[in-house]
C-alpha cells in the first residue's frame, strides 16, 4: 500500500512544460569547462601580470619551400618535458590555418574534425612569404598588402591585422592551454580528495595557471552516469579576441539573439557559456546558450570597418564565453574537451568575402531539388497509406499547394526503419505512386538507431559486418534505448559502413544484400535523432567513453557524428539512380560542412509566440553558419496553436528556406484545410504566395550554391556599414532579390515597424505603398493585419514570380512569369532569374537558363525607361552553377529549348514618374494599363504609380527590350 501512496503523490505533481535543465550539464558540472573557466578567472585576477606559459622555439622554425606554411616547436613553461608542434599556413585566398598538437605524447589527440568538415584539402598560397624576425614570424599579403599575420614567439600569440589594426588575436589573453596526456598516478590516499593536507603541502608551481587540484581528471560523474575517462585530461582552452569588432555572430545552434549576447564580464546577459554539444533537448528554452541539436563552430566578428571570422575545427564538446570589454571589442574563450587546436582565420574583410572564404573551406550549400523549396506537410504521424491519400485529397479539394508528404517513425514496424508496418501501410509503393501522380514526393524517416532483433535485416547486416558503435570496453556493441527500444547505433566512422549504407537505399533488388525495394526513386529521407539521441544515456546521448572506429572515443567526435549519417544518406539517395539525381535529406544534427548534404530544421520547438520568434533568429544564425537550407517547424512541434498563431507561423514559414509544417503525435490535427474561415483562405493565399515566389528562392539558392552568400541575409550582411542594423535579427532580405521581410511573431499585431537602412524607396509588396528610408537609417510603420506579412521590395529590384496557383511545384514548370519592377529613386532596377530542370545535375553540363533583367533610362537625360532581358549565363558562364566552372554557355541547351515557349505574361512597373506616352517592343505598341501614383524619384509617400504591361509576348529564355516612353 505504501508503494501506491507514493506513486499517487508522484502523479499529483503537475507536468511542467519546459526543458529539463537537470538533464544537461552546466559549465560547473563539466570538469573541463570548470577547469577552463577557472583558468580564465585566475587570468582575470592576475590581470597584467598574467603571461601565457606557451612559447615558440624560434630555432625550430621550418618554412616550407615555395609555400606559405611553417612549423615550429612550442613549449610550455609549466611542463618543460612535454613537446608541442605548431603549424601555420596561409591559403591562396588569404585564410590562415593555425594548428597545434602534442608531439610524441603518450597518446594521440583527435585530429580528424577538419577532414570531415572540409570539402577538400585547401590550396596553400605559393606567393605569400613568411619572414622570420627576432620576436615573431610575419607575412604580409592582400591586394593592397594590408593584411598581415604575426606569430609572436614568447608568449605564443597569433595576430591577424588589417591596415595595421588587430582583427583576430589568438592567445592574446594567455588562456591557451593544451592539457597533455599523462599516466594515471595511483593515488596513495584512499580517502576522498578533500582538503587533504598532503596535496596542499606539495609545492605546486603550476597552481597559478592550472589551479591547485586535479579536478576530475580520470573520472567524472553526472547524475547516475560515470564517464570513465581512460585518457585522462586532454582539454583545450584558447582565447580568441576581436579587439576592433563589437558584434559577434554565429556558432549555431542556440536559441539566442543573432548578435551574440555576453556570457562573462560586467552585466553578462547569460551566466553560462554558449555550449556546443549536440543534444536532443526536450522542449528547449527560447532564449538560452544551452546546447541544441547541431554545432557549427564558426564565429563572425563584425564592425562597420570590417568583418572577420574564425572556424574552430573541433569535434568534441566546446564551451564558448563571450565578453565585450568595450562596446567596440570582443573577447571569446573556447574550451573543448579533446582534439588538436585547428583554427581557421578568415580575413574578410566583407561579409561576402567571409562567406566565400568559409564555403571554400567547407563547401557551398548544395543546390536543392526545386520541389524541395515547396511546402512540406508533416505530422507525427500520418497513420496509414489511406490517411496519406486522404490528406492529399483534402489539400487538392481546397486547392492548396503542397509538394511533399512526410512519414514519421510510425510507418515502421516496431520502429525498424525501412520496414513498413504492413497493417497500416499495406501498399507503400502504390501510395507513393498516388502521391507522385500529382507531381509530389514523399519523405520518410530513417534514424541511426537499429532495433536489436534478429528479424531486422538492417540490424543483422550491420551486426554481421561489425559496423556498430562499441561500448567503453571497445569490444561489446553499445546498447541503448531509443524509439525502437533496445537499440544499437551504426558507426559511420567505419568506412565499411559507407557502401553498405548506400546499398540499403537502392530501390531495385541487390542480390543477397537487403535493399529498400518497397520504395521509389521519389522517396526522400529524413534523418532524425542523429545527435545521437539515446533516451537512457547521459545528457540523452551516448556515453563519451563509447568507442568508434579507429579507437576514438565518442567524446572526440560527438559533434561530427550527426553529419556523417546525413552525408552518407545524402550520397545514398543521390546515387541510387544512374545518372544521379539531387538528393533531399533533412537532418536534425549537423556540423560545419553539413550544408553540402541537404536541409536542417530547428528541432522540437514549442507552439508559442516566443518559439516562433526564436525560430526566425535561429534560421538566420544557421544562414550565417553557411547552412542556408533551414527552417523551423511551422505551427510548433508541441502544443495546439490557435488559428491566428498558425496563420502567422505559415507567414514565417514561407519566408524560410525550408518550409515544413510538423506536429507532435499528442496534438490535434492542424493541416491548413481543417481551419475555419477566414483562416483557411488566408493560409491558402500564404501558401500560394510561397509558390509564386519559387523563382526568387531558387535563384537565391543558385547564388548560395556558387558564392556561399546566404539565402536569408540579416542587415549586417546586406548593409555591413550601417551600424544601426548590426543588432537587428527580426527582419531580413531574401537572397539578392531586394525582398525585405519582417515576419509578425506576436499576437494581435496590426502594424509593425520596419527598419530601412538607406536613402532608398521601398514598396509594400501588397499595397504598393511607398516608404522612403534615409541614409542614416529610418524606421517606418507597415500595416500588418492578419492576412498580410510585412514584405517590401527594395527600389532598384526586379522580382520574377509565377502567379498561377497549382497543386504542386512541378506542375508550374511551363507556367508564364510576371516581372515586378520596383524602380529605384534613380529610376533603375535589376533582377535575376535562374532555372534548370530542378532535379538532375544536367545544369553542370550547361543545361540551364540564367537571365538578368534590367530597367534603366534609355539615355542619361531621357525620361524613357528601357526594360531588357539579358543572358547572364553567357556573360558569366564560370560563375553560373555550383561544382563546376563552365567556360562557355550554349543558349540552345536542352533545358533552354524546353522552356522556349514559356512566356513573360506580365510586366509590372512601380514608381514610374508619369503616364507613358507609349510602351513598345520594337515598333509594335503593347497593351498596358497605368494607375496614377507616387513616382520613385519623388520625395512623396503614398501609393506608387503602377504600370501593367499585358502579355508582351516574349519568352523567358530570350533577349528582348521594351521601351516605356514618357
Amino acid at each position: 500500500m505504501r508503494a501506491f501512496c507514493s506513486l499517487l503523490l508522484l502523479a499529483a505533481v503537475p507536468a511542467v512544460l519546459a526543458v529539463k535543465t537537470q538533464d544537461f550539464k552546466t559549465c560547473s558540472q563539466s570538469a573541463f569547462c570548470r577547469r577552463g573557466r577557472g583558468l580564465s578567472a585566475r587570468a582575470q585576477e592576475a590581470s597584467s601580470s598574467w603571461v601565457s606559459p606557451y612559447s615558440v622555439d624560434a630555432s625550430t622554425i621550418s618554412i616550407a619551400p615555395n609555400l606559405a606554411s611553417f612549423t615550429a616547436a612550442v613549449k610550455s613553461s609549466l611542463y618543460p618535458d612535454i613537446k608541442f608542434g605548431l603549424d601555420v599556413r596561409i591559403h591562396d585566398d588569404g585564410v590562415v590555418r593555425v594548428r597545434m598538437d602534442e608531439v610524441d605524447g603518450l597518446r594521440k589527440r583527435y585530429d580528424g574534425a577538419a577532414s570531415w568538415a572540409l570539402v577538400a584539402e585547401p590550396e596553400l598560397s605559393s606567393k605569400i612569404r613568411w619572414s622570420v624576425g627576432k620576436a615573431d614570424v610575419r607575412a604580409k599579403y592582400g591586394d593592397k598588402k594590408d593584411v598581415e599575420v604575426v606569430v609572436a614567439f614568447n608568449p605564443l600569440r597569433v595576430t591577424l591585422l588589417q591596415g595595421g589594426k588587430e582583427q583576430v588575436v589568438l592567445n592574446g589573453k594567455g588562456l591557451l592551454h593544451m592539457e597533455h596526456f599523462r599516466a594515471k598516478e595511483n593515488s596513495p590516499k584512499e580517502e576522498p580528495a578533500g582538503e587533504s593536507e598532503q596535496v596542499v603541502m606539495q609545492v605546486n608551481n603550476r597552481a597559478w595557471f592550472e589551479g591547485d587540484s586535479e579536478d576530475e581528471y580520470w573520472e567524472e560523474k553526472f547524475g547516475s552516469w560515470t564517464d570513465s575517462k581512460p585518457k585522462g585530461p586532454e582539454s583545450l582552452s584558447l582565447d580568441i579576441s576581436f579587439p576592433n569588432h563589437g558584434h559577434v555572430y554565429g556558432i549555431p545552434q542556440h536559441a539566442t539573439r543573432l548578435s551574440l549576447p555576453t556570457t562573462t564580464g560586467e552585466n553578462a546577459y547569460y551566466s553560462e557559456p554558449y555550449r556546443l554539444y549536440n543534444a536532443d533537448v526536450f522542449e528547449y528554452l527560447a532564449d538560452s546558450p544551452m546546447s541544441l541539436y547541431g554545432s557549427i563552430p564558426v564565429m563572425h566578428a563584425h564592425s562597420a570597418g570590417s568583418t572577420v571570422a574564425i572556424f574552430n575545427a573541433v569535434g568534441s564538446e566546446t564551451w564558448i564565453d563571450v565578453a565585450h570589454p568595450s562596446p567596440k571589442s570582443t573577447e571569446t574563450h573556447w574550451i573543448s574537451e579533446s582534439g588538436i587546436l585547428d583554427v581557421f582565420i578568415m580575413p574578410g574583410p566583407t561579409p561576402a568575402d567571409i562567406f566565400a572564404q568559409y564555403t571554400r573551406l567547407t563547401g557551398t550549400p548544395a543546390l536543392p531539388a526545386h520541389w524541395a523549396l515547396g511546402y512540406h506537410q508533416c505530422r507525427w504521424n500520418y497513420i496509414s497509406s489511406n490517411d496519406v491519400r486522404d490528406v492529399q485529397k483534402r489539400f487538392d479539394m481546397e486547392d492548396m499547394p503542397v509538394d511533399v508528404f512526410w512519414l514519421d517513425i510510425e510507418y515502421a514496424e516496431e520502429h525498424k526503419y525501412f520496414i513498413w508496418d504492413k497493417k497500416n501501410f499495406p501498399d507503400p509503393v502504390d501510395m507513393m505512386h498516388d502521391v507522385e501522380d500529382i507531381g509530389r514526393k514523399m519523405v520518410v524517416i530513417i534514424d541511426p538507431h537499429l532495433k536489436r532483433t534478429d528479424n531486422y535485416p538492417v540490424y543483422q547486416e550491420a551486426n554481421e559486418r561489425g559496423l556498430l558503435v562499441k561500448s567503453a570496453d571497445g569490444e561489446k556493441d553499445y546498447e541503448g534505448w531509443c524509439w525502437s527500444g533496445s537499440s544499437a547505433w551504426i558507426d559511420f566512422f567505419n568506412p565499411n559502413s559507407w557502401d553498405w549504407w548506400k546499398t540499403l537505399f537502392k530501390t531495385l533488388p541487390q542480390g543477397d544484400r537487403w535493399s529498400w525495394t518497397d520504395s521509389t526513386i521519389d522517396t526522400y529521407i529524413w534523418n532524425d535523432m542523429n545527435e545521437p539521441s539515446v533516451f537512457n544515456g547521459p545528457e540523452i546521448s551516448m556515453p563519451r567513453d563509447n568507442v568508434h572506429h579507429g579507437g576514438w572515443e565518442h567524446r572526440d567526435i560527438h559533434n561530427i557524428n550527426g553529419m556523417l549519417l546525413h552525408n552518407l544518406t545524402s550520397q545514398a539517395v543521390m546515387t541510387r539512380t544512374d545518372p544521379p539525381r539531387r538528393p533531399f535529406v533533412l537532418t536534425r544534427s549537423f556540423y560545419a560542412g553539413s550544408q553540402r548534404f541537404g536541409a536542417m530544421w530547428t528541432g522540437d520547438n514549442l507552439g508559442t509566440w516566443e518559439h516562433m520568434a526564436a525560430g526566425v533568429r535561429m534560421v538566420l544564425a544557421n544562414n550565417i553558419g553557411g547552412f542556408s537550407f533551414a527552417g523551423s517547424d511551422v505551427g510548433g512541434f508541441f502544443g495546439n496553436p490557435d488559428s491566428e498563431m498558425l496563420v502567422r507561423w505559415y507567414q514565417v514559414g514561407i519566408f524560410s528556406p525550408f518550409f515544413r509544417a510538423h506536429a507532435h503525435i499528442d496534438t490535434k490535427r492542424r493541416e491548413p484545410y481543417l481551419l475555419d474561415e477566414p483562416y483557411k483562405s488566408i493560409i491558402r493565399n500564404v501558401l500560394r504566395m510561397r509558390y509564386s515566389m519559387l523563382p526568387v528562392w531558387y535563384t537565391a539558392f543558385r547564388e548560395t550554391s556558387v558564392t556561399g552568400l546566404p539565402v536569408l541575409r540579416p542587415h549586417y550582411v546586406a548593409f555591413p556599414h550601417d551600424e544601426a542594423g548590426f543588432a537587428i535579427d527580426d527582419q531580413f532580405f531574401v537572397g539578392s532579390s531586394g525582398l525585405l521581410v519582417k515576419p509578425i511573431v506576436e499576437k494581435g499585431a496590426t502594424h509593425t515597424t520596419v527598419y530601412l537602412p538607406e536613402d532608398q524607396v521601398y514598396y509594400d509588396y501588397f499595397t504598393h505603398d511607398v516608404h522612403r528610408g534615409a541614409s542614416k537609417g529610418k524606421s517606418v510603420t507597415i500595416q500588418a493585419d492578419l492576412h498580410k506579412t510585412p514584405l517590401l521590395i527594395r527600389g532598384g529590384s526586379i522580382v520574377p514570380t509565377r502567379e498561377r496557383p497549382r497543386r504542386s511545384s512541378p506542375l508550374m514548370k511551363y507556367d508564364p512569369f510576371t516581372l515586378r519592377i520596383a524602380l529605384s529613386n534613380q529610376d533603375v532596377a535589376h533582377g535575376e532569374l535562374y532555372l534548370d530542370d530542378g532535379e538532375t545535375y544536367s545544369h553542370r553540363d550547361g543545361h540551364f537558363v540564367w537571365r538578368e533583367f534590367i530597367a534603366e533610362k534609355t539615355e542619361k537625360k531621357s525620361k524613357a525607361v528601357r526594360i531588357s532581358s539579358r543572358n547572364l549565363a553567357a556573360q558569366k558562364p564560370g560563375e553560373a552553377v555550383d561544382g563546376v566552372a563552365l567556360t562557355k554557355y550554349d543558349g540552345s541547351n536542352d533545358f533552354a529549348k524546353s522552356m522556349a515557349d514559356v512566356r513573360v505574361e506580365r510586366v509590372v512597373i512601380f514608381g514610374a514618374a508619369t503616364k507613358p506616352a507609349s510602351v513598345k517592343m520594337g515598333d509594335s505598341e503593347l497593351q498596358w494599363e497605368y494607375t496614377q501614383g507616387v513616382a520613385a524619384s519623388d520625395k512623396r509617400e503614398g501609393m506608387a504609380s503602377v504600370l501593367v504591361i499585358k502579355d508582351p509576348g516574349v519568352s523567358i529564355t530570350s533577349d528582348w527590350e521594351i521601351v516605356v516612353q514618357a
Binding site: 529539463k20 536532443d280 541503448g480 540523452i540 512566356r903 505574361e905 517592343m921 519568352s955
Partner: protein
C-alpha cells in the same frame, strides 16, 4: 543596346483556344461573339469591360476570372469540361494546362490538344457499372432497413403490451402491499415498546457500533480496492502504451517499479539479457490469525453480515439465552414481593397472565416477535415485488420513448434492431469492437486489459437532427483516459451496406478513434428515378 535583329521573335500566344472553351452550359449565352474582336465584353461580375479578343487569351483581366473560362490564367476561375458521352464536370481553373489529365475531364479538354486522350466512353461505362452496383446495394440494404422498421413496430407493440400488463399488476400489488402494511403496523405497534426496551441492552448497542464500524470499513475498503485497481490500470496502460516521446527516464523507472511490484515481466527492457536483475515478486502473504477471515470471505460474506437483521437477532438472542429476562414491568414484580408471598403470587401471575393473553392484550414475548418478523417479511417481499414491476414499467416506457426518438433509434426506429449488436475488427495487435448504442472497446490480442473507448453519446451533432447525414456518424465518448492525453473516444462513420460490419479502424489523433462501418440501417429507399432497371 542589343540590335533588334538579334532579339527573338515574340512567341505566339496559346493558339486556338475557342472563346467558349471551358464555359459552363448555363453561361454559354454570355459568351456569344459580339461581332468584332475589338467589341467590348463585360466581366460576368460587371466589374470591368474588356475587348472580346481578351476572352480566353490566357491572360487574366477580370477580377472574377470570367474572361478566362478555358485557360488557367485566372487563379479563381471555373473550367467546364463537357465530357460528351459521360457527365460534364467543373474543375478549378488552377488545373487547366498543368500537364495532368484530370480524371474529372475524361474528354481531355483541360489540357492542350493532343495531351490527354478522350476516354469518356470507357469512363462512362465504368461509372454506370459502379452506379448500378451501388444502387443494388442500396436497394437490398433498404429492404433490410424496412425489416428493421417493422421490427421496431413489433417492439413497440410488445412494449405497449408490457406497460399495460405492468399497470394492471401494479394496481393489484399496491392493494396487497397496503394490506400487509396494515398488519405489520398493528403487530409492530404492540411490540414496539418491548423492542425499544431490549434495544437499550449494552450488547445491542455495542453490536450496532460494530455494525457501523464494519460498514464504514467496508466502504473504505472498497474505495481502496477501486483506487488500487484504477492505479493498476493506469500503470498497466503506462506500461503497455508507454511512449518514450518525452524521453523521460522517470517514466521508465515508474514502469519498472510497477513491474517489480505487480510481478510483471519487464517489457522492452534495455537490460533484458541481464537475468540477475529479475526480481522475485515480493510475497505479500502475511501470517493469518486463526479464524481470521480470508480475502475471499471478506469479498463474499461481508455484505450479508452487515445486512443482518439486528432486531431479529436481538429477539433470537433472547430466545437463545433462555432466561425469562423480563421485558415487562409486570414480570419484574417478583423482585418486590417478599419471599414468603412468592408462591401464591406466582400462581396468581400465571392466572393473570394467561387471562391477559387470552384477551390479546399481551403476548408471550417470543411468540410476538416471531409474528412481527413474519409480517415484516411478507410486507418487504410484497413491496419489493411492487418496485420490480414499477421498474419494469418505467424501463419499458423509457424504451418506448427512445424507440422513435430521432436522437436515439431514429424516427422510424430503424436502429432499434441493432441495439447491442457488436461489430468487431481484428487489426493484429488489437481487436476493436463497438456494441451499438452501448460501448466501444479495444481488446489487446496478446493479453492485457480491455480499454473502454467510450459509451454511446450521440449521433452526428454537426448535422440536422433526423437528417440522413445525422445518422452517418455515431459518437462514443468518455472512454478510459489516455496517459498524457484525452479520454478515449470513437466516431463511427456509417455507409450503406448489406451487412452490419466494421470496416476500418484508425486513430488519426491520439486516443481519438475513427471507425468506418456499413449498415443497412442507413440505406434509404431509392428515389423512383434511381430504381435499378432490373427492378422495374
Amino acid at each position: 543596346m542589343v540590335p533588334w535583329l538579334l532579339l527573338a521573335l515574340p512567341i505566339p500566344v496559346l493558339a486556338g483556344v475557342d472563346k467558349t472553351h471551358g464555359v459552363s452550359l448555363s453561361l454559354l449565352s454570355r459568351y456569344q461573339s459580339p461581332g468584332s474582336p475589338s467589341a467590348p465584353w463585360t466581366c460576368l461580375d460587371g466589374s470591368k469591360t474588356i475587348s472580346w479578343s481578351a476572352v480566353n487569351d490566357d491572360y487574366c483581366d477580370c477580377p472574377d476570372g470570367s474572361d478566362e473560362p478555358g485557360t488557367g490564367a485566372c487563379p479563381n476561375g471555373i473550367f467546364y469540361c463537357r465530357n460528351e458521352g459521360h457527365i460534364g464536370a467543373h474543375i478549378p481553373s488552377t488545373r487547366v494546362g498543368d500537364g495532368l489529365c484530370e480524371p474529372e475531364c475524361c474528354d481531355g479538354s483541360d489540357e492542350r490538344l493532343g495531351i490527354c486522350p478522350n476516354v469518356c466512353k470507357e469512363v462512362g461505362a465504368v461509372y454506370q457499372e459502379e452506379q448500378a452496383a451501388k444502387r443494388k446495394v442500396q436497394s437490398t440494404g433498404s429492404k433490410i432497413r424496412t425489416l428493421y422498421i417493422a421490427s421496431a413496430q413489433k417492439e413497440k407493440r410488445r412494449l405497449e403490451g408490457q406497460i399495460t400488463t405492468a399497470k394492471q399488476e401494479i394496481a393489484v400489488r399496491e392493494d396487497e402491499v397496503a394490506r400487509l402494511k396494515d398488519i405489520l403496523d398493528r403487530a409492530e405497534s404492540i411490540s414496539a415498546t418491548a423492542l425499544e426496551y431490549k434495544k437499550q441492552s449494552p450488547l445491542y448497542a455495542s453490536l450496532m457500533e460494530h455494525s457501523r464500524a464494519l460498514k464504514a470499513l467496508e466502504s473504505e475498503y472498497k474505495l481502496h480496492l477501486e483506487r488500487e485497481k484504477a492505479l493498476g490500470d493506469i500503470l498497466d496502460a503506462l506500461r503497455l502504451g508507454y511512449n518514450p516521446n518525452y524521453q523521460d527516464m522517470a517514466v521508465l523507472e515508474a514502469v519498472r517499479g510497477w513491474e517489480a511490484l505487480a510481478g510483471l515481466p519487464h517489457i522492452n527492457d534495455v537490460a533484458k539479457d541481464d537475468e540477475s536483475h529479475k526480481q522475485e515478486v515480493p510475497s505479500q502473504q502475511e501470517q493469518e490469525l486463526e479464524g481470521e477471515w480470508t480475502a475471499e470471505q471478506l469479498d463474499k460474506k461481508l455484505d450479508s453480515l452487515i445486512n443482518s437483521d439486528y432486531e431479529t437477532l436481538l429477539i433470537e438472542h433472547d430466545k437463545h439465552i433462555g432466561a425469562p429476562v423480563s421485558d415487562s414491568p409486570l414480570y419484574d414484580l417478583t423482585a418486590y414481593i417478599p419471599d414468603a408471598f412468592l408462591p401464591p403470587f406466582e400462581a396468581f401471575l400465571q392466572t393473570v397472565s394467561s387471562w391477559l393473553q387470552s384477551f390479546g392484550l399481551t403476548s408471550g414475548t417470543t411468540a410476538t416477535s416471531t409474528d412481527n418478523s413474519k409480517a415484516r417479511q411478507a410486507f418487504n417481499d410484497a413491496d419489493k415485488n411492487l418496485s420490480a414491476v414499477k421498474q419494469e414499467q418505467k424501463k419499458a416506457e423509457e424504451e418506448l420513448s427512445h424507440l422513435f426518438d430521432p436522437t436515439w433509434f431514429g424516427s422510424e426506429g430503424e436502429w432499434k434492431r441493432l441495439q447491442g449488436t457488436c461489430l468487431s475488427k481484428d487489426t493484429g495487435e488489437y481487436t476493436y469492437e463497438v456494441c451499438l448504442f452501448d460501448e466501444a472497446r479495444q481488446k489487446p490480442n496478446k493479453g492485457g486489459s480491455t480499454q473502454s473507448l467510450g459509451k454511446f453519446s450521440s449521433w452526428d451533432t454537426g448535422a440536422a437532427v433526423g437528417s440522413p447525414e445525422y445518422y452517418g456518424k455515431q459518437h462514443y465518448t468518455q472512454g478510459t483516459k489516455c496517459w498524457n492525453g484525452p479520454m478515449r473516444s470513437v466516431t463511427v462513420v456509417f455507409s450503406c451496406g448489406i451487412e452490419n460490419e466494421l470496416l476500418t479502424v484508425a486513430e488519426p489523433e491520439k486516443c481519438e478513434y475513427q471507425f468506418t462501418a456499413t449498415s443497412p440501417a442507413v440505406c434509404l429507399p431509392l428515389r423512383a428515378e434511381e430504381e435499378p432497371r432490373d427492378e422495374l
